[in-house]
Symmetry: C2
Subunit: 238 residues, 2 copies
DNA sequence: ATGCTATTTATTGTATACAGTAATTCCGTT
DNA sequence: AACGGAATTACTGTATACAATAAATAGCAT
């Protein structure tokens, strides 16, 4: 038996199990944020357990975490499904982003430096690239990543975590209320923003972020469109 | 066998189980916020399972939730313990409260009405009462409840939830860095705040909230004091 | 006596078995 | 053919058994 086969078969040690759990969590979370798992899609414990090769116990832990982050909805006796945000929730999320993300801009501008700016530019470029090559769902995740990274640069880990949650939920909202073929974020907005931050112009960045978020929110149609749910196998790859 | 005994013995239906879980969660959460469980206290799964009469499975679910709310810290293979916030975290939490709670004041003022004001006054009175009768730990929880209720009145459920988390963590911070016998919140601050909100003066309320939070933060000493951890039985009552 | 190693113990991590309930299907009646 | 109800099925909720590991302890050598 080859090492690879042995690695697959043997019971993983607990430490490895933790990392595996984290990887599975990210896998599912990314699938939701990238809209390969669409709002309303059911997440059956058995199916997920089989796909990822762990028992339902571990899957439940992950689903509960996702539920607390409001990416999945846990209805008693019915199990988990990808959250379908209501219009009210959408408004709350974007209002919250206005308050928090805009409020952080002065701090971010104060702490901005060349290295951070370069990193952000890389992320913005990658996002444009994904968009050009037609990978819109990937672009949506990259856009969320950009906003999260920005918040992290403020130095406030707690608020950055809040922004992270808001951005994931925003992806869900875009999936339900966004127009197909329209990302929400304009391609060059992020670059412009980096410019303001780099020159330490916090107030300017704040105002720009406000417009940026308003633009995304305005691009939503608030009319849901029905989707059919694909198979777990093809989403995560056999 | 009496009904009460029967109710204790028989396996609860799943729906009742959910409510029971929620009750246990609140029980533990309150114990932490009221500082009957002090930062650093270990929360062994077996012990909790026995105290509350459910299996470790349910306890783990609750501990994971508390961990995501950062009230308890889950270290692999070591189990759960009440989080001992660092000074950095304390700063983050209070900065976040400044941004969010102050930012919500205009909205709260706009939506304030007689019924809400009366409810808030009741809460403020109850808090003063607890303080007068020497129940400082209860007063700390009531103070947190007040701030949370205020945030809920803004109408933004998402931000209200963030405030809820920040307030729980603040109680932990007060437990570690607060002076004994000093609550942080001045007794009449909350009443003054209600006054500004009732007259629709959002900006005034915002400024007052800012001073209020700064006062609490300033009352912290940033020097931890060691505590001995009491027994689970006496905390939750046999 | 002290430090190091082996053994025991305490406690968490994971899988699985079983129970309970909601959804579905199938069948008989009208 | 449509409706209502009973049997079946599919899935989640919970407890428990077992595995793995870290902490505590005891024993040994220096």
């Amino acid at each position: 038996m080859s090492d690879a086969q042995a690695a697959l078969k043997r019971r993983p040690s607990d430490k490895e199990g933790d990392e595996r759990h984290e990887a599975i969590y990210r896998s599912v979370s990314d699938a939701i944020v990238e809209q390969r798992l669409k709002p309303g899609a059911r997440l059956r414990e058995d199916a997920l357990a089989e796909v990822f090769g762990i028992s339902r116990t571990g899957i439940r832990k992950i689903l509960q975490r996702l539920a607390l982050e409001q990416l999945v909805t846990l209805t008693p006796r019915r199990g988990a499904s990808v959250t379908r945000p209501t219009a009210d929730e959408a408004k709350d999320v974007f209002d919250a982003r206005q308050l928090i993300e805009c409020g952080l801009m002065p701090d971010v501008a104060r702490r901005m430096n060349a290295a951070a700016a370069a990193e952000l530019r890389d992320m913005a470029r990658e996002e444009r690239q994904a968009l050009r090559s037609g990978q819109q769902s990937v672009a949506i995740r990259l856009s969320a990543d950009f906003h999260v990274r920005l918040a992290q640069l403020s130095g406030n880990a707690t608020l950055a975590e809040f922004v992270e949650r808001l951005c994931s939920r925003s992806s869900l909202i875009l999936a339900v209320y966004g127009h197909r073929g329209h990302l929400g974020c304009e391609s060059h907005d992020h670059d412009d923003l980096i410019g303001y931050l780099e020159t330490g112009n916090g107030e300017r960045a704040k105002a720009f972020m406000s417009r940026h978020l308003k633009a995304i929110e305005a691009s939503l149609s608030m009319v849901e469109e029905e989707e059919n749910v694909p198979d777990l196998q093809q989403i995560f790859g056999a």
